[in-house]
Subunit: 652 residues, 2 copies
Amino acid sequence: MTPSVEQTAADTIKALSMDAVQAANSGHPGMPMGMADLAVVLWGQFIRLDPGQPAWPDRDRFVLSNGHGSMLLYSLLHLMGYPLSLEEIANFRQWGFPTAGHPERELPLGIETTTGPLGQGFGNGVGMAMAEAHLRAVFGPELVDHYTYGFVSDGDLMEGVASEAASLAGHLGLGKLIYIYDDNEISIEGSTGLAFSEDVPARFDAYGWHTVSIDGHDRQAIAEAIREAQSVTDRPTLIAARTHIGHGAPTVQDTADAHGKPLGDEELARTKELMGWELPPFTVPDAAYQFFAQARERGAAAHREWDVRRRQVFDDDPARAELWKAYWNPVAVKVDPLGFEVGASVATRKASGAVINQVAVSMPSLIGGSADLAPSTNTIIDGAGDFAADRPGGRNLRFGVREHAMGAVVNGMVLHGGLRAYGATFLTFSDYMRPSVRLAALMEIPSIWVWTHDSVFLGEDGPTHQPVEHLASLRAMPNMWVLRPGDATETAEAWELVLNRRQGPSAIILTRQGVPVLDRSGAEGLVARGGYVLRPGDDVVLIATGSELHVALGAAELLAPLSVRVVSMPCVEAFLAQDESYRSEVLGVGLPRASIEAAATFGWDRIVGDGGLTIGIDHFGASAPATVLAEQYGFTPEAVASAVSGWLEPSN
Amino acid sequence: MTPSVEQTAADTIKALSMDAVQAANSGHPGMPMGMADLAVVLWGQFIRLDPGQPAWPDRDRFVLSNGHGSMLLYSLLHLMGYPLSLEEIANFRQWGFPTAGHPERELPLGIETTTGPLGQGFGNGVGMAMAEAHLRAVFGPELVDHYTYGFVSDGDLMEGVASEAASLAGHLGLGKLIYIYDDNEISIEGSTGLAFSEDVPARFDAYGWHTVSIDGHDRQAIAEAIREAQSVTDRPTLIAARTHIGHGAPTVQDTADAHGKPLGDEELARTKELMGWELPPFTVPDAAYQFFAQARERGAAAHREWDVRRRQVFDDDPARAELWKAYWNPVAVKVDPLGFEVGASVATRKASGAVINQVAVSMPSLIGGSADLAPSTNTIIDGAGDFAADRPGGRNLRFGVREHAMGAVVNGMVLHGGLRAYGATFLTFSDYMRPSVRLAALMEIPSIWVWTHDSVFLGEDGPTHQPVEHLASLRAMPNMWVLRPGDATETAEAWELVLNRRQGPSAIILTRQGVPVLDRSGAEGLVARGGYVLRPGDDVVLIATGSELHVALGAAELLAPLSVRVVSMPCVEAFLAQDESYRSEVLGVGLPRASIEAAATFGWDRIVGDGGLTIGIDHFGASAPATVLAEQYGFTPEAVASAVSGWLEPSN
């Protein structure tokens, strides 16, 4: 019996996956083998992609949340005609090749997001579907109308971030989100029965999803389930597909051994024999290429039709064409001064709220929200409405108490394209979303995090809510920019810097408490350099960030007749990126230096150098009013001046 | 009509909570008012505590997961007779008082765990219930047989960590875990309808919980629901109690305004008027004390009966008495050398597995597991069985892919007492559990984290799995000890150090790849000092950790005739805790220093000083075999030697 082309396509995925993992001598063959039937149906019959123009805005999005099954994706992308060669597949997991152990975002290759850390892709897909729903509301379905498909695993569904994102997706009724759950009952330690016995479809029903359970190797049932999912437009769909991990392997199918290691030469040979597969390794039969050629042509045709529609729409409605440009080809952002009076006490979170509302007017693609702390983080865009199931055009995102989903969703919205998204919570709760923050840094995407209540000076809520180590821990992360502006005017400049940064995530770190608006005449625009001289002086250099900047200025006055320089350093990363001469000019050469930051001193030695003083807080805080904490922890101008003079003249 | 004593007790909680928040001018009155009825029923009729002896091992555990409602707990503890005075309540959220904004673990006061960061208490309670089930299996119900009760909020249930823990608790059939869900439909941003519309009881049914829904102000229904929960012994119970936040406040009840700020004088006065409450602020009517006196006596009587039973059991069965001591009064732990041959290639994760199995024999209280990575983290205790619903005596915990719940559960087990628990995953996924790690540090409890695959040298899995910034980010955390042993013998010493540390959490950071067993004769035991001279030398000092230690030794040989000192620094925190003279002796005075660690260099400046060299990886890694990465990133002995000599003689 001749196998169907669909069968050949599935077998090709299995063969390539087995071959690549075997050649690399590491990787995960079981998942691609188990999901090959699902993949050929989804990609063969449904998905709309145009590999010739991978960035087509209205393409369907595909997320492989179970990223360890990367060979499934690479196989699909190669067969579909993306520029990912068999040679690259044969060099799976090798230095210099794009076929990494886990998929790394590379849009020209069709890789929409970086996955591997479980649950993140699940959350990204929710963000992509939210972006689609929002842009559809803004531009109409003639311009934006696509699905977000995802493959998810037991592991994804066990992760809290996926639970949070699933609850949010159900709440928002994301009808164009369709996930296929690889229910293979196997995880690394063995049967999922070891740790996972919940009723997954019932859980998703409770979240407000549409669910359907099928045999994941019955390709007719798969197609029907996807059609059914498409027909349900007011809820996301989870297709629970019962599959066999390592499908077709005679001895390791349905075992944990199929999960994360090569099959071995013998098992591989036997599997191919049972499949009737006689081609050499890394060989693709023409029938498989032909099968995917029709899928590719379906997507290309859809893209052509979309181009026609778009031209028509733009011709009929030039305003919409302009708006489209504002979303998809953004210009540089300029933040105007906020107009607070010098000396006024303004929490930087309040200044930030003013920036958001100023920028939101001219930047319609700005969208974001908070994890149930909007009144505290000052992140509401006034008059822009809430994003809700029946009003996805709203620009205020209500994440609920779901920081981690917020991180993954913001990343997903940014990855989708067209939007500039931010997520907000208290700085201490950045820990809850850290895996998503890291992925934004790894992907070099410009997600924006607004983290307020940025030190022990949030006061009475106490040490559970008071960040101490967070600034250091975030500064240690590659590609991450941490901005801690010292007053309202620095806050405006910090936002401008962040909004124009495209190659990585940025965090804007803001005070709860009021801090004086400083006289920064002559220093306008210098936040962009990361650090700058705010007050000249030649005897000693005080380097401060955020709410400690005005304290340093106060201490400098008290230290007269010493000539005290005060350096504001709102962004250490940006400062270190300056050339050596600028840095020396700012920090001085041979001058004693002290850093002042109400946080762990870890990392400040590289700025103050040997013999430098690091004034910080290397312990957890306490529940008390901020002014009391400032006294107790030595963060008044008097205490800082005293610490500095004691350090300069230890004999006194 | 005279109010019932139960009503008076509830009103007292409300009045104290309103008064304290008003006096502090910050805090959360709404929750204590909304949950007062639930609290008086649970504490009045059911809970078994002995405030005179707060550490009674078989007491019921009570977790206030929605810790922002701390005044509810403080009120209960005061009324119950714990040493928490009205003066301390009147100084809610003030410096020097134990009545912090969020409850901070203080067993003598009856505060079992620190809560506030949402979802953590939920997970702690699951850990406590697991500890109880395990110890009950070990010692029998005559010695261990208590409930774990918890109050949880919408916010808790939105957090992923709670979802993970709930799924695990259902899987493990924790019949003595009873949570009361404060279903008040209000969160900080407004109605929960903004972001949270899932069917919570249906979700918990899907997890395998018993659920019951009641009116949270109907005290008879509350009592019936708790009795029903107790009667269900094979599943945890969630009592969904529909409550009114700010119950009784005439204008703010059922609004977000009741959540997180004082009622204000007028609303407070009106509320008391409506309650018929005529006492001055911070005054407790005798009836309320009497009400709680019977609850206190019930607990004390239970404790007396338990003492009798225990004496009987120990008399009848001296072996059980000995075993009890081993769990509850542990002696210092000694780890014997592992016996690997010098020069053999042994991954430190493997050495760690050997330690765990060695120690587990003499230390029955050691219990732990991994988030679905046990075969990779080498954390199985051989022959000790899995902890499962029908076999809670097993010591291998199967967390599933739930790192965050693992963190909160391990903390809960440690908080319960009697057990020494560890949780394991890859170092990069420590990010997923970071909020729990932080709470262990804040609580100063000795949770143990085993984090393997500790650098880019895990190889092919690629940058999603390769930690870079994690060591620095963890070292920045107060009270946290980070141990990165350099070979099998250091691993044994590191474990010994950790097992004997009681005042904070420790992380054991381990390699995936083999590293040579070093000749450490003469340096035995020195891991305890954090850093020590492994190879003497007088020209230059190379400081290395973990898998870079043998690389440094290799480089030292290549750098001959230079006299190169190699310092091993497996625990920076322990080293910095040594006295100045020891530190100078190890690092030398006036010698050039270079650090070598395959991770972010952030933080190493404080060790190497001005002009020092920090060899590290300040970017994300790549998917490739470890040996290739070592070449590419300069972590071979040759590359290190070349970097060091280039740095020492820049003119060459």
